[in-house]
Symmetry: C2
């Protein structure tokens, strides 16, 4: 039995908190704007759908954190997440913790996705990586071979 | 000096023809629906922008054929094209000729892109290849490594 937190059509609230979560709970955020939502504890799944200028801070997810149909979203994982997926979204900052560096980040139909990872040194610096958003497909030996176009920088 | 053919806001015409083109001409198609446009000769560039259910058949392009902001577009290259780019579009069938098999196909923010290439045999069969639309990014040795998700089939 799964329990579902739903946050819908909220605007301008910067201190929303879902507390004491457990892994039988999922969080669904829809149609929000100018929001900061903090999710404490380990939830099964987080879905952020059709949100703009949205910040999500969470501890752990068991399955995935999904960003769909969003614009200008910041997502911070403080613990672990096996999968973070970004679909049909533009402008997304993903902050990974040391525990979530091995997350699979999946993108589709998205642009301007940056991932910030902790630097190797002792201080809490972050290093920003832009994920490719353009791909070149060339036909070789009867198959298409896909290469990401990486823009150098930062 | 470049000359530009503009086809704008046309609906339901299946026999449009731009004839006797040369490489100082470009073609710009915008806001069309249920259209079939044939371009004969070698043009510098073709851009198809914000079109739905559109067919474009062309002989050669010198620079690129660009599909932007489209839905359900079919593009057939009968000669050569160094680059075919698809940006922010869904549902695109690209028909390549034997002369355009070495085209670079560039995609960004797009889904359901299929490329049909001539089969190896003597008859005129086509083989369909679906381009990847989802990508997995994993962090390895301080860098993100991107892998296309390919769905088997056809």
């Amino acid at each position: 039995m799964m329990y579902r937190w739903v946050v819908e059509n909220q605007i301008g609230k910067k201190d929303l908190l879902i507390d004491k979560c457990d892994s039988k709970q999922t969080v669904y955020v829809f149609g929000c704007k100018d929001l900061v939502l903090q999710i404490k504890g380990k939830v099964n799944n987080i879905t952020v759908d059709k949100c703009t200028k949205m910040g999500v801070v969470f501890t752990d997810v068991v399955a995935a954190c999904e960003i769909v149909n969003c614009n200008s979203v910041e997502v911070q994982c403080q613990g672990t997440a096996p999968t973070i997926s970004v679909d049909n979204s533009a402008g997304c900052q993903l902050y990974l913790s040391k525990g979530s560096l091995d997350a699979s980040i999946t993108t589709a139909k998205s642009s301007e996705i940056n991932v910030l990872v902790p630097a190797a040194g002792p201080d809490n610096d972050l290093v920003e990586h832009a994920l490719p958003q353009q791909y070149i497909h060339t036909y070789k030996n009867g198959q298409f071979v896909t290469t990401p176009v990486s823009h150098s920088g930062g």
